[in-house]
Symmetry: none
Subunit: 423 residues, 2 copies
Amino acid sequence: MSIESLKKSVEILCIGTEILLGDILNSNARWIAQELAELGLPHYIQTVVGDNTRRIQEAILNSSRRSNILIITGGLGPTPDDLTTESLASLFKADLYKSEEVWEDIQIKLKHKDEKLAKCNEKQALLPIGSKIIRNPRGTAPGVIWTPKSNFTILTFPGVPSEMKAMWLETAKPWLINSGLVNEKFKSKVLLFSGISESRLSEKIEKFLESKNPTVAPYASLGEVKLRITANSITDEQADKMITAMEEKIIKRIGPYCYGSDADTLASTVIKLLQDKKKSISVAESCTGGGLGAELTSIPGASKTFLGGVIAYSDEIKKKILGVPAEILLRHGAVSEATVEAMAIASTQIFGSEWAIAISGLAGPEGGSALKPVGLVCFGIAGPNGCKTFQKQFGKNKSRGEIQRLSVIHSLDALRRILLNGY
Amino acid sequence: MSIESLKKSVEILCIGTEILLGDILNSNARWIAQELAELGLPHYIQTVVGDNTRRIQEAILNSSRRSNILIITGGLGPTPDDLTTESLASLFKADLYKSEEVWEDIQIKLKHKDEKLAKCNEKQALLPIGSKIIRNPRGTAPGVIWTPKSNFTILTFPGVPSEMKAMWLETAKPWLINSGLVNEKFKSKVLLFSGISESRLSEKIEKFLESKNPTVAPYASLGEVKLRITANSITDEQADKMITAMEEKIIKRIGPYCYGSDADTLASTVIKLLQDKKKSISVAESCTGGGLGAELTSIPGASKTFLGGVIAYSDEIKKKILGVPAEILLRHGAVSEATVEAMAIASTQIFGSEWAIAISGLAGPEGGSALKPVGLVCFGIAGPNGCKTFQKQFGKNKSRGEIQRLSVIHSLDALRRILLNGY
């Protein structure tokens, strides 16, 4: 490959033996790749190497010959197998200095945990002379922005995703935007869908998927589909216009499936709809065991809207606390629309909430029958106009965790539609 | 890096622009990495490039200089941007031939899906002369095992995970086992720790981290630390012995922090401890909103042990359902040891469980004060001998989700210790 073709380009190097052992998915590379795509920075190669100085150095050397920005994750921890900074320094024959600023920050952070300051954390304050610090708001390992040779700048991040992301958004992304590499404005917006499969959705908007600018790219996760609209233009305003125009065309075709955009979640959408109506909600969960409540509680400020719930995992508790009539459990069983109806209505009464969601199902792997196979989940949604119940068969091939997660998503999407369109 | 050090080694090259755009996670690389680790085949480098002939060829060329097995996924499809086979052939100046065997297989498979045979599928029957076919039981794209130069063999797979995995298990894995590369047995075991930081843990077992065989490698995730012990030997038995010996030395030093190994979780460990004692548990959750219940419910068969819980998010509910005295909430506040004690004891009474965990804290981002900052969480663990309460400050830098997750982990670990050691 011609070297020129890759000048002004970016690479990602992820360091960690646990990735090579297959112990963890390399989600950092994907997240950074999405960020780079949004910035419109060409990104041609990703590399993963283990915690080994020579291999780290070879990877960095190769990259320095074909690209001019290298983003490194991993190897900034306090333990002996964290080698990124030392490897960089010795490769480019630079000295490390102890940053008092970083060292103080580490001491403060470790004091919070009442544990005596671990000596080995001191090495996290050692940085290449001449490097710019990427402060870590979430942990003790700072990163650096360092240009060891002309036309080649390295950005380092810890491997812990939450720390890497915070450092990227706070320091690295603004730096990249101002680096002169980003000459066009790339803007993107992610539309979020539930209740429709990726293939169904793609069919309905097939021609938009061929659009070159803005581009429209679908990708699916469990129970949800995302559409990323990315426009590039010389001005933000122009890019925004292009995105809005495409968004309107998409919404016209599949609007009812769209629950939000970008950082929204089904839970945040439902909480907002309830807050707008000044209504409250409670939950009664069996097979999800609190997962729905936790999803609602994950939204800051949810406490004003989400009053609480009952995790009624056993029939005894369904009777004793939720007052589900014994004969309903006897005649219809715990996994039945009659039972979730009783659970949902009881929940509104106990918590004094206008709305309630009840879930009871067979998450497996045991407990299925011919009549009620694993994957069968019943939902009850009680509101001012009574209780709507329905059931869903998520399929036997789904894992316990997937069935629980799909139940939470499905119930929130059902309430969202009811809040928007009524029963 | 010395070339020799990498001889008899394997690399993975994943081809696909969608990976570079961050549209999909590179789950193929992880799956293959796990397979290689099991086989004990050293695997030092992973690379990802897009659908671009020159970059594909440079990646293969680099690999051919340092490794002797290259596993390639992606780029075997019928469309113009599938370039793997052509790139290989032209790089090593080999000719392609049309495999009638493969072509017939493709025709049969496409006839099955009543769709007219796409002309472009014909290119999937073109293979390098001298290559061995890896038949694809799930799709139309076959792979090859091909040795274009001495000491360098390439295995190709489509990017579709289900097809790649089937081909790996049916053809590639047996071939690798018989390749003569697999001469040592590699076995590994992961020990799981909670309640200790990665740096503290590493300090306590520093000298073991330098061990060459078995190796001991730590890595941290939110609230937990893992230690992977990997031994290689000529026999499984010998490898197991080495792992057990190292495990005993580690446990002797930091045993109390170790809650399990491999596939265990804190929840599965706690459920098992309770099942062994034939005791049951319930929960009363405020700031975690059901996350603790969901974690317990994630364990198959938990229903025998986990009876249920109350998500008491508002003070009203804490009073009304859990009967927390108004004066306790008034004098000590909802986030206090007095409140979680009342919550935990009430939970055992309501659910008739021997044990109960109560959690109340400030997950933020709003609601903190000088006296009770965001990140402060109170825990109550009620059991046969009364209720133990304590509080933890997880630090203001943690996100809402992290504080909620850490609260769940911390409460389960506390109960684990109590179940093992008493109050």
